[in-house]
């Protein structure tokens, strides 16, 4: 039962996700998006294309926003992974999530968690980004509903809110 190019050797790996070490058993070339969704139940990381072209599956890896659909399991080991569940929950929203809800920066919302992760990674690095920097950070993200202008507004609002709460 070996078909060409397919690594059937299942291994146990430890991933550090949302600050917790999690053990997973899967083929080492399994795209991280499936591990997060199916093994770890972190469904906010969404499948959109599986080809690194839409941003729906974006997570933060050591501070950088990356698509998790073209990241094999083996390469994620030893890195700090954050998913949308790791930044906030319904009871305690991250300022970026809160801003998306306040501004109604979504229609179907399917693109949004990936975009939220890109925004969080950006704001962690650059607390007061220019509009151009925000647009650049969303370069690989697609939204079909046309929520773009609201999404940009929400990210700007989140930056302001975060600056306020960080002020002494």
């Amino acid at each position: 039962m070996t078909s060409a190019g397919m690594d059937a050797d299942v291994t146990v790996r430890t991933l550090r996700v949302n600050g917790v070490d999690r053990e997973v058993t899967a083929a080492p070339d399994t795209p991280l998006v499936y591990i997060l969704r199916n093994d770890l139940g972190l469904k906010g990381t969404r499948f959109g294309c599986g080809e690194g072209q839409c941003g729906a599956c974006t997570v933060i890896l050591d501070g950088r926003a990356v698509p998790s659909c073209d990241l094999p399991l083996w390469s994620a080991e030893g890195h700090e992974i954050t998913t949308v569940e790791g930044i906030g929950s319904e009871g305690g929203l991250h300022p970026v999530q809160q801003a998306f809800i306040d501004v109604q920066a979504a229609q179907c919302g399917y693109c949004c968690d990936g975009i939220v992760m890109a925004a969080v990674a950006l704001l962690d690095r650059v607390p007061d980004p220019t509009d151009e920097a925000i647009v650049a950070a969303l370069e690989r993200h697609l939204c079909r509903c046309g929520a773009h202008t609201r999404i940009l507004r929400a990210i700007r609002a989140a930056a302001v809110a975060m600056a306020k709460s960080a002020a002494p």
């Binding site: 795209p31 599986g50 229609q107 647009v135 697609l142 079909r144 202008t149």
Partner: protein, 703 residues
């Protein structure tokens, strides 16, 4: 006295207990047939119910699109969720409220006029006497039909409807799992289907043995040309699909048109011509001049960001499918037919999906899931690939529109002819006699699809918005319907309105330019409808439109206007563009009159989304093909608008709280397309009549 007319959905499901229930925990459940597709309807329905019942909106939960419980309201489409579903809910709640108030009046021996309802408690004004919906619920039997007698509140009394209540579904969606894609059941497996590479392709050979032997593969379902895979783990299903694709050989038809230019192939096909509108006689006498132009739009993809998905489970002979369909009741009967089950043995439960913008793969994937669940005996989460979504869902029909006009000596239009060539615009499952689900055509024996037909006016498919809003004294509107489309077609947001409005509003601009008149002034000169004039005037004001100002060779502005379907929302769009290597949209200003706005912010959001999607269609999108296969298979081969291409957008609502609410999901599409083409003309003096407005087409028009 004639019987009061009930809203359509309420007339179809008149029993009040199918719409409203007071629950023990001081809560209210309402059932709706209109489902959430990202338009915020679940919130709007809760707002309407809260207002009409006078309960805090937090007490209201909405159950939508569940064939075990919710009323059958057909499809959630055509910007009808509020116009039809919302108004049915409003009437149902008004009736329920009236019954409870009457019961309270009986109990306290007062007149109904003396009672006040506040957050569900019913009090005799100026006294301590009070009861509540929940207390009276055992006495008030809602197992009775709506009478139409109760009068919903006057608009001025609405406190929840009319305010921008936060979308209730967003917190879950922004923090984790919330879609059908995210559901999971014990023993569930992951499903993929090997779609034929082109429409009508037949499977010639596939060695399923090697696929079945791959790690984790639970079943390979081979039925005619339908190939499905179930695997324990998702990546195993993906790997098995890849192997199956490499191993399968197909017999393909190879019969796609030689040219991908709409005007090359569409009018050459056999068509049935119908005159759908006529005023006066053409050609008119006394015309000083006659002008004509021809416009086209390509096939467009729905291109949802989340590929379609469904979860199916068979248990004790009963099939349950969780689906992001727009029409759960239709889907149930179609799946039942395809699987030779009684509809009573099938349930379809709506679960949220990514935005669909019309008839995408949502229904097809549900049958895929059902076929796989039945074959492997375990629940199946069936996920389409990006390629499936772009290449196998139906497309919005290609269209060609020829318009000619006769003008008198003053440049006033006295005769107008509008001639359409189009494929049908809707082949939704359940709309005809056949089974309109992809897999049903591939299994053995195959089911026939319904005979292609189009949506008649007043809503219209190809003819949607073909009748101009302008007061032209003589006009003829005709449609040449080509029933058989080379590519699979069905409803895409706004149907034919996009092409018709693009054509009408481009042509009006051409006439204004020929008459050397300002485009806004020229429109107003031909338009009496005060609500039409108001949206054009408000958009012009918001955009600081100065009469007669001309583009400067790189920058320009243009306007487009329509009343959606000629019976729904009024919308005017002004676009400001800059043309360099490509057409860049800098700013878009829109004004909309949608009657009563139930949730103004959600309304603006819908219009903004409609504008951005229409910019994407108009500047970038077209489905292309070679002789056999479509090439739209990834975001590379079907690019859509990106963040750095999105303009500033300002939407103004022309407020009409006393007029019935109108849907706005689709009203901006056509006006946006025309505004862009007109702005391009204003900037550069070139007229591009074939969409999309790509740099190549602009360059060709300049030659």
């Amino acid at each position: 006295m004639s019987r009061p007319v009930l809203p359509r959905s309420l007339a179809a499901t008149p029993r009040l207990d199918r719409w409203v229930r007071f629950d023990d925990n001081l809560a209210v459940t309402v059932w709706s047939g209109k489902v959430e597709i990202g338009q915020g309807i679940a919130t709007a329905i809760a707002q309407i119910a809260a207002d009409e019942l006078d309960v805090d909106i937090r007490r209201v939960s909405v159950v939508a699109g569940d064939t075990t419980q919710s009323p059958d309201e057909g499809y959630t489409s055509g910007s009808q969720s509020i116009e039809s579903g919302g108004m049915a809910m409003r009437q149902a709640c008004a009736e329920v409220r009236a019954l409870f108030v009457a019961e309270a009046a009986r109990r306290f021996e007062v007149s109904a006029a003396e009672l006040r309802v506040r957050d569900g408690s019913i009090r005799v004004a100026g006294t301590d006497l009070s009861t509540s919906y929940w207390e009276l619920a055992p006495q008030v039997d809602l197992a009775r039909d709506a009478s139409g007698a109760a009068q919903p509140k006057a608009a001025a009394l609405h406190t929840v409807a009319g305010s921008s209540v936060q979308r209730r579904d967003l917190p879950a969606k922004l923090t984790g799992g919330a879609y059908v894609h995210d559901m999971s059941l014990p023993r569930m497996v992951h499903g993929r289907v090997l779609r034929p590479p082109s429409g009508g392709a037949r499977l010639e050979a596939l060695d399923t043995g090697t696929i079945r032997a791959m790690p984790g593969v639970v079943a390979v379902v081979l039925n005619g040309s339908f190939v499905g895979i179930c695997a324990e783990r998702e990546e195993q299903a993906v790997a098995a699909l890849k192997a199956a694709r490499a191993a399968a050989s197909w017999r393909e038809r190879g019969s796609l048109p030689q040219s991908t230019e709409v005007r090359d192939f569409l009018p050459a096909m056999r068509a049935e011509r119908t005159v759908v509108g006529r005023i006066g006689d053409l050609p008119v006498a006394g015309a000083a001049r006659r002008v004509a132009a021809s416009y086209s739009k390509p096939y467009l993809a729905h291109a949802s960001i989340g590929p379609s998905c469904a979860l199916a489970r068979t248990q004790d002979g009963h099939l349950t499918v969780w689906s992001h369909t727009q029409g759960p009741h239709h889907l149930r009967s179609q799946i039942a037919r395809a699987l030779a089950l009684s509809p009573a043995d099938v349930d379809v439960v709506h679960a949220d999906g990514a935005g669909c913008y019309g008839h995408n793969g949502a229904d097809d994937v549900a049958l895929d899931a059902a076929l796989l669940a039945r074959a492997c005996g375990r629940p199946v989460l069936m996920q389409w690939t990006r390629e499936d979504e772009l290449a196998s869902s139906p497309y919005g029909s290609a269209m060609l529109v020829d318009i000619s006009a006769s003008l008198d000596g003053d440049g006033q239009v006295i005769g107008w002819a509008h001639e359409i060539w189009s494929y049908p615009h809707s082949s939704r499952p359940g709309s005809g006699e056949g089974v309109d689900l992809l897999a049903a055509w591939d299994i053995d024996p195959p089911f026939a699809p319904s005979k292609p037909k189009d949506v008649p006016l007043p809503h219209g498919g190809a003819t949607r918005n073909a009748v101009p809003a302008y007061d032209f004294p003589a006009q003829e509107i005709a449609c040449n319907l080509v029933r058989e489309s080379p590519l699979r077609v069905s409803a895409l947001r706004s149907l034919g309105a996009y092409a018709n409005v693009f054509a009408i509003e481009s042509f009006i601009d051409e006439l204004a330019a020929a008459a050397n008149e300002d485009p806004v002034a020229f429109r107003l000169k031909h338009l009496r409808d005060p609500r039409a004039r108001a949206v054009i005037e408000s958009a012009a004001k918001a955009a600081a439109w100065t009469q007669g100002r001309k583009g400067d060779g790189t920058r320009g502005r243009g306007i487009g206007f329509a009343r959606y379907k000629d019976i729904s929302a009024w919308c005017a769009v002004i676009a400001e563009v800059a043309v360099g290597a490509k057409l860049e949209v800098k700013r878009v200003i829109a004004a909309v009159d949608a009657g009563e706005a139930i949730n103004p912010d959600a309304l603006v959001n819908q219009v903004e989304g409609g504008i951005i999607q229409a910019i994407s269609w108009t500047l970038k999108e077209q489905v292309l093909w070679d002789s056999t296969r479509v090439s739209a298979r990834s975001w590379d081969s079907y690019p859509i608008l990106r963040f750095d291409e999105v303009p500033e957008i300002e939407v103004t609502i022309v407020s009409r709280p006393d007029s019935p609410p109108l849907g706005v999901g689709e009203c901006a599409a056509g006006p946006t397309a025309a505004a862009l083409a007109n702005a391009l003309y204003d900037a550069m003096g070139v007229r591009v009549r074939d969409l999309p407005l790509t740099p190549e087409r602009i360059a060709r028009a300049m030659e």
